[in-house]
Symmetry: C2
Subunit: 333 residues, 2 copies
Amino acid sequence: MEVLCLPRLPRVAVCGGTHGNELSGVYLVRELLKAKKQALKEEKEEKPLSVLMVLGNPKAVQLCRRYVDTDLNRCFTHAILNCPLSDRPPYEMIRSRDLNALLGPKGTRESVDLVCDLHNTTANMGLCFIAYSDCDWICLHIFKYLQMQLPDVPMRYIHFDVSNKESYSLDSVGKHGFAMEIGPQPHGVVRSNIYTAMKLGVQHMMDWIHFFNSGTIFEGGLVEVFTMVKNIDYPRDSETRNITAAIHPQLQDRDFCLLHPGDPLFQTFSGETLSYKGKEPLYPFFINECAYYEKGIALSLARKRRVIIPAIRVQTEEEQQANEENFASEEED
Amino acid sequence: MEVLCLPRLPRVAVCGGTHGNELSGVYLVRELLKAKKQALKEEKEEKPLSVLMVLGNPKAVQLCRRYVDTDLNRCFTHAILNCPLSDRPPYEMIRSRDLNALLGPKGTRESVDLVCDLHNTTANMGLCFIAYSDCDWICLHIFKYLQMQLPDVPMRYIHFDVSNKESYSLDSVGKHGFAMEIGPQPHGVVRSNIYTAMKLGVQHMMDWIHFFNSGTIFEGGLVEVFTMVKNIDYPRDSETRNITAAIHPQLQDRDFCLLHPGDPLFQTFSGETLSYKGKEPLYPFFINECAYYEKGIALSLARKRRVIIPAIRVQTEEEQQANEENFASEEED
């Protein structure tokens, strides 16, 4: 068996409240911070892993809104992080730079090894990993491990095929990163079952990182990956731009169930059915997500495929040192 | 059979968007307005019933928030409607007076005959009437009629035992009034099934009013009424006032299922179960309603009883005239 050797993951960040009204992550980060404080008080031995727990948008959390001025989770492109600031910049433009300083800088050797950013959706999506890469073996192996540990939780890996330059979300600041998106949960509400799934997801992720850093070999295998193809907007009134239909009741809550050409897509407010006009069957997700009305997205569509992932283990200290020397000499070139 | 004779209901108001992020009512009122405009264009005969369609809080609808400055649906007490205004009054203090001028004035003969105010909840409550009276035969008969017409929709009548003086919601401005509250639907989202239930509810209500005004006799009978007893808040951190638990998964979504002393009530974020400490079994509702976190309400509890409602019909013109003369002479006294 060929085993790929990858660098250790000594610094990890778990973020919640990047959207202030997605409450599972808010309460989970608070709970983890409380537990950490308690452990420090009891002078428990510090683990060899540094875990940063971060509330992404504390002002928005306070207001229980997605954001104050602009969507924080669209502020982490290199362009936005480095553009000159206006006299009175939106709050999130300041906050994204603070977070980039804390967890990044994005794209540098100083950035944390893994960012897991916690999100909720009103869509019936179960637990999803959302990542910009379909060949980040760390993220894919963590995903595979969680699937095995939590067989009762519907779990999918979503791939947004966006270049590193264009990647815009907080999790893109780490060397590895993904959003853990769980639903259905209304924004501004915390549901015990969703909170618990998230808590277990984070616990198993932390376990995996401990095992990995300690030298465990993880076998390769197959992972199903849903690659985002396109978004579909609601039908809208040409003058007012108000929506004129809702997701069809036969499609509502059926995220990741194949949508065929001709299948019911919307039901207009006067009662008419509008069907899916696409040419190929695709997998719908983010069906009727609350926050996407303003973004013009009624649902997203994905293509499913299987990705073969290699067996992996952590690099030995010697391997890592050799690697770093290579990296340094490359930088000198 | 004794039949109670009640005044005609020539003026009715259907309101939506009193809370700007409860979208079924927003889109239904827009749809009804569009249909009315179309009917006028086609010069269809005006029906003998005047129906006002009103968007309660248009500014909040624009922002897709519950309210702008303060909860509009708590602004309709006589005290608030008549208090002197500050220099820069909250938007909703102005708006409540406008609505009182349009549909009221509350408590006068000029007020509309019936206000039906459309609401959504994140709680799994089905279709509920919420009213301040358990002996308003008009509201109770409409409810009974809807139950018969929509046997597949879970339907309950909730009674808030609050005096007319203290009644605070928009529906209290009419001679008769109730909130039509439907869930579960996340705020900021419209779900086709919930929208359709609301649309059918309003259509059947309008049918009932037509039948009533045309002289139909409605038989009496029994109606189950849930009278609100008390609210229960979330467990909270004594310093931060943040909540420390969510509704227990065994209670979540079980609105109107009897809650017994000792039953699980909350699950803390660290995983502990807290049970219901009350002395008598009661019926929970508004379980985990999004907008009530800030009001300190995790759920409400009600007692169920049966109310006997009499057979009714509309007064003849002669009866009505005689009644009005009585009323006038009373006023002179």
